[in-house]
């Protein structure tokens, strides 16, 4: 595809360096296959990949499709493949990549809307399927009369899994998701563990029944790539193994 050949004058500072930003372009409504557009981008030590993409949108091609919001690794919107690895664009500094060429592509295992924007429907559907909320038979939550106290040890059981921002990077990195389109995925499984391990929750049996399916928890190969790419330090692979412990009777 096209290569844009010049950096706008007056946009660079004396300390800035430059790289080539390769952006994957694909519109499923018009294109048969994806291609790349290259843009020369100047950057500072602190410039993130998202800022570089927004720079491209501002100065070169405003039609580049990218989803973003908070710019501080909280909303989980800007997940993409950066130099071959699923990362958050707002959380990845160009200077950390140690490369003169930065390639950005849409996340794997997600249908592409356009360019770098992908559909999140399936991620949210599977997330919702595992009942991501506290389940209790009593009405104490509504009565507002009692707190559900937890010891630090009980909180420790699940707290890292509560950091999930639903960015989908783990699902993008998962090799099982690449072949099994019905697989529930590491994001939903990690969230299932988050609630199963919560001492306030009483919905363990119903959640375990949902994930104990022919395309559920047993299809995980324990490649561990989900845990490697998580920008929030969540370890879905460990959560999946701990959940298997419940199903195999090693944990109760």
């Amino acid at each position: 595809m096209a290569q844009v050949s010049s950096v706008p004058k007056g946009q660079t500072s004396p300390t800035s360096k430059s790289i080539t930003l390769r952006i994957s372009r694909f519109n499923p409504e018009h294109d048969e296959s994806s291609g790349f557009m290259e843009f020369p981008i100047s950057y500072e030590k602190w410039t993130t990949v998202l800022e570089a993409i927004l720079d491209v949108k501002k100065h070169f091609d405003h039609s580049v499709a990218v989803r973003y919001s908070c710019r501080q690794a909280t909303c989980g919107s800007c997940g993409m493949i950066i130099n071959g690895k699923p990362r958050l664009a707002c959380f990845t500094k160009i200077s950390e990549l140690n490369s003169n060429v930065v390639t950005v592509e849409p996340m794997n295992n997600f249908p592409i809307i356009r360019d770098l924007a992908v559909k999140f429907e399936k991620l949210f559907d599977t997330h919702q399927k595992i009942k991501p909320y506290l389940i209790r038979d009593d009405t104490e939550i509504q009565s507002n009369e009692k707190e559900f106290l937890q010891s630090p040890e009980e909180v420790e059981q699940y707290i890292q899994f509560a950091n999930c921002i639903k960015c989908g990077l783990c699902n993008s990195a998962c090799p099982t998701m690449a072949t099994d389109s019905s697989f529930v995925g590491p994001q939903a499984l990690a969230q299932a563990y988050r609630y199963v391990a919560d001492s306030r929750d009483k919905g363990k049996d119903s959640r375990l029944k949902i994930i104990d399916d022919s395309h559920g928890i047993w299809r995980c190969h324990f490649a561990g790539s989900c845990s490697q790419v998580c920008p929030k330090g969540v370890d879905p692979a460990m959560g999946i193994q701990l959940l298997r412990g419940y199903l195999l009777g090693f944990r109760s």
Partner: protein
């Protein structure tokens, strides 16, 4: 059957098969490799009921483990209600067929038909 039950059987058959195949290999080491494959020795093994029972058990364990493994691989390759049912029942039928064929050999030997 619940998938967790199937996987418990899958892991259990793997562990049991490893133990029994180890016994099988140790028994084979009691004589030379070529000698152990001679026609009369093979028949003698089948006629020795405890050993024949162990071979039958190994056959059952490995068939269950192997065909369930194949089912899992095939389910990951392609999805679809009809395909998944065909794979599950196909693997079950193939497993039963293989066990029946292997058992037939042991039974026929013990009945003096070979």
């Amino acid at each position: 059957m619940r998938e967790s039950t199937i996987m418990k059987i899958h892991y259990g058959t793997a562990l049991a098969a490893v133990a029994l195949v180890a016994v099988h290999i140790l028994m084979r080491l009691t004589q030379g490799f070529a000698e152990s494959l001679e026609y009369e020795n093979v028949l003698a093994n089948y006629k020795f009921i405890p050993y024949a029972a162990m071979l039958e058990l190994i056959l059952i364990l490995l068939s269950i483990h192997g065909f369930n493994g194949l089912r899992v691989i095939l389910l990951e390759l392609k999805q679809g209600r009809v395909y998944e049912k065909a794979v599950s029942y196909g693997c079950l039928a193939a497993m039963i067929g293989l066990i029946a064929y292997g058992s037939r050999t042991i039974i026929m030997t013990n009945m003096g038909m070979i």
